[in-house]
């Protein structure tokens, strides 16, 4: 009794009950499709998150965060200085392992307007030119601030394409690039001149789609114009990066901070200080160095902490793991249900074939041969189901993308396929065990008498 014959007989048995076999396989097909599809979606999510992380400044970026003073320093809480320019200068002078220090003075509740159009950008900050390196910005048109702009607190700004889209219109709508260099806009009522504009940041998928659209030419607008939120197209990271206005740090201080405070003492605190370390291998010593420097400028009050992108990466990995686990459990359950379906059908099929099994036994089939025969049949059903499931997963992923377009293209991984097929093979064997045992134990005499 060789294996090849057994498989051929198993295939014949499946072929002679086509409809029933397909119904049986359906459980496995759906199980494998959902497993592979789920893994593809999670993989897409992971890629999207990592892409977004790079868009926010890369792995070597370290955020200097404020934190409540520790309990043992509670009595000093009032004297906590927060992040100021003192910290920036001290870090620049005394922390050689820190390559880049970029201060940001954010302006709250900003409205930008031009020619009757007004709009609230995501970010409006006073910055140094270090911000370019820090947040990995690329200037597409015009120039960035220089020392003289900073020194004289000139009213100049560099904008992201999102700001341009809102105030000057989208190039996609008019069919040519709009470069508003030299134009004047109002930031909270104060006139600023645009001297530079960044490139349009987008995820790989959006870039591909944009290229496709450009090749097809301008589309005719049908129906009313609709607003597209960031949730639908492009990740939040790219959207906020595009909706940014930068002005010189000193300008932010002079025009907004110094005049803004009610009791006459302007708030010197920065909203952000971001660091980049000289080398990722030296991350720990660099942070220690920065901590020492900052403890001096903060008079020993520990009202700050560092958030590295490594933590961020860890967070991403944790989220991905969770998503993978929950998706895996769902897929495993549906595979289990598929397995129960196979067992059910195998039991029914054996009941139908009791007489045939009796004949085989009478002419010399050993219990082991019958056992293997049934097991192989069950395995063949589950494996065919698994293969169909792998194909179905492509359709599943495509369909899912149609229903819920997301920034993160699902990526079907070979690993998920292998796991799916292996898992359903195991399910097939386990589901076949009980029916196979039952068939192998049939008494030939009673089986032959069975009507």
């Amino acid at each position: 009794m060789n294996l090849f014959n057994t498989i051929v007989i198993g295939l014949k048995e499946i072929w002679s009950h086509k409809f029933r076999s397909v119904l049986t396989m359906l459980g496995i097909i759906l199980g494998v499709a959902s497993l592979v599809g789920m893994a593809a979606i999670v993989k897409g999510m992971e890629n999207g998150m990592k892409e977004a992380m790079v868009a926010m400044g890369g792995v070597d970026k370290v955020l200097l965060r404020v934190q409540p003073v520790p309990a043992w320093q509670d009595h000093l809480a009032d004297q906590a200085p927060g992040r100021t320019m003192d910290d920036v200068q001290a870090l620049r002078k005394s922390a050689p392992l820190i390559r880049l220090v970029s201060p940001e003075m954010g302006i709250e509740d900003v409205t930008v307007s031009r020619a009757g159009k007004s709009f609230r950008p995501e970010y409006c900050s006073g910055v140094w030119k270090e911000i370019l390196d820090m947040n990995l910005h690329t200037l597409a048109h015009g120039r960035f601030f220089n020392e003289i702009d900073e020194e004289e607190a000139r009213s100049v700004c560099v904008i992201g394409t999102g700001i341009r889209d809102e105030l000057f219109g989208k190039p996609e709508d008019v069919g040519h690039e709009i470069i508003p260099i030299g134009e004047e806009i109002q930031i909270n009522g104060q006139p600023f001149t645009i001297i530079g504009m960044f490139t349009k940041y987008m995820s790989e998928q959006d870039a591909k789609e944009a290229a496709l659209k450009a090749r097809e030419g301008p589309q005719k607008q049908v129906g009313p114009k609709r607003q597209k939120g960031w949730g639908r197209k492009g990740g939040w990271a790219f959207w906020s990066k595009n909706n940014t206005i930068y002005i010189p740090l000193y300008t932010a201080w002079v025009k907004f901070r110094a005049v803004g405070d009610l009791n006459g003492v302007p708030d010197p605190r920065l909203t952000d200080i971001n660091l980049k370390v000289a080398s990722l291998d030296q991350l720990e010593p660099a942070l220690q160095q920065a901590r020492n420097v900052l403890l001096v400028t903060h008079h020993g009050i520990e009202d700050f902490t560092f958030q590295t992108q490594e933590n961020q990466l860890e967070n991403i990995n944790k989220q991905i793991q969770n998503a993978r686990l929950s998706g895996g459990i769902i897929a495993a359950i549906s595979l289990l249900v598929g397995g129960i379906g196979i067992m059910n059908i195998m039991l029914a099929s054996i009941n139908e074939r009791i007489r045939a099994i009796g004949i085989c036994k009478a002419i010399g089939a050993t219990p082991a041969a019958i056992f293997i025969q049934i097991l192989v049949e069950s395995l063949v059903v589950s494996l065919i189901g698994a293969l169909l499931g792998v194909f179905a997963s492509y359709g599943f992923v495509e369909g899912l993308q149609l229903v819920t377009p997301s920034a993160n293209t699902p990526i079907i991984t070979p690993m998920a396929m292998i796991i799916g097929v292996a898992f359903s093979a195991a399910v097939g064997v386990i589901a076949g065990l009980i029916p196979a045992l039952k068939a192998a134990r049939l008494d030939p005499i009673q089986a032959l008498r069975y009507e």
Binding site: A362, I363, G364, L448
Partner: protein, 241 residues
């Protein structure tokens, strides 16, 4: 030495605390080349005897030797091997597999004994030639008449060249004429020197065999051996005195 030796064989069933002796202390020898029938009314224990002789079942008590090997203690797997190689079965209801065609049905025992594909086909064809069905190889059992189906079953029983062939009411499901043809086939097999056991309730059919064993209530009630009476043309054994 006899081909099959039964010594004090009993088969006991327990039904709701009641002990039923389907076979009661049967001692019996069957020699190689014998053409023999087991006869008895239904419920007499003749089927049980055939199952034990045919290694489909094991006795509760007593010993059974097939071809010099004691088999009363054999496992179900070992019994399957013995059935496969040493025993051929022909049943009342033919018992062909409906999904396989004629050749495949005949090949089946050889699949279980691990004969290679080419040899399997050759031997199946030879066996089918012998029962004059060489022209119906690709037919399904349902496309054949009862007599033809029974001939396929006989070919299947012969294909592994067994020591002994059991036929359980082989004509029970056939008309008289076709039954005659099938019985003639068994007679021919016997003439070729094969050991054939015919199980039947019909004395007329049993009459074709030189030796008849009658079973009643699980015991051998009567043994008729035409050879001993000097009635058999071929192998009469004349008593010494």
């Amino acid at each position: 030495m006899a081909l099959l030796e039964l010594r004090n064989v009993s088969k006991i069933y327990h039904l709701g605390g009641e002990e039923i002796r389907a076979l009661d202390d049967v001692t019996l020898d069957i020699d190689a080349g014998e053409f023999c029938s087991i006869i008895g009314p239904s419920g007499s224990g003749k089927s049980t005897l055939m199952h034990i002789l045919g290694c489909l079942d094991s006795p509760s008590l007593g010993t059974i030797k097939l071809d010099g090997v004691e088999i009363q203690k054999a496992s179900t797997g070992e019994l399957a091997h013995i059935r496969n190689r040493k025993i051929g079965f022909v049943f009342q209801f033919f018992n062909l597999l409906p999904k396989l065609n004629v050749v495949q049905n005949v090949e089946l025992p050889m699949i279980y004994s691990g004969v290679s594909g080419k040899e399997r086909r050759e031997r199946a064809l030879r066996a089918l030639e012998m029962v004059e069905l060489g022209n119906r190889l690709k037919n399904r059992p349902s496309q054949l008449s009862g007599g033809q189906q029974q001939r396929v079953a006989i070919a299947r029983a012969l294909v592994n060249d067994p020591k002994i062939i059991f036929a359980d009411e082989p004509t029970g499901n056939l008309d008289t004429h076709t039954g005659e043809i099938i019985l003639e086939l068994f007679r021919n097999l016997s003439r070729e020197g094969r050991t054939v056991m015919l199980v039947t309730h019909n004395p007329e059919i049993a009459a074709v065999t030189p030796r008849r064993i009658e079973i009643r209530n699980g015991k051998i009630a009567d043994k008729v051996d035409t050879r001993l009476a000097g009635l058999d043309r071929k192998s009469a054994v004349v008593p010494a005195h």
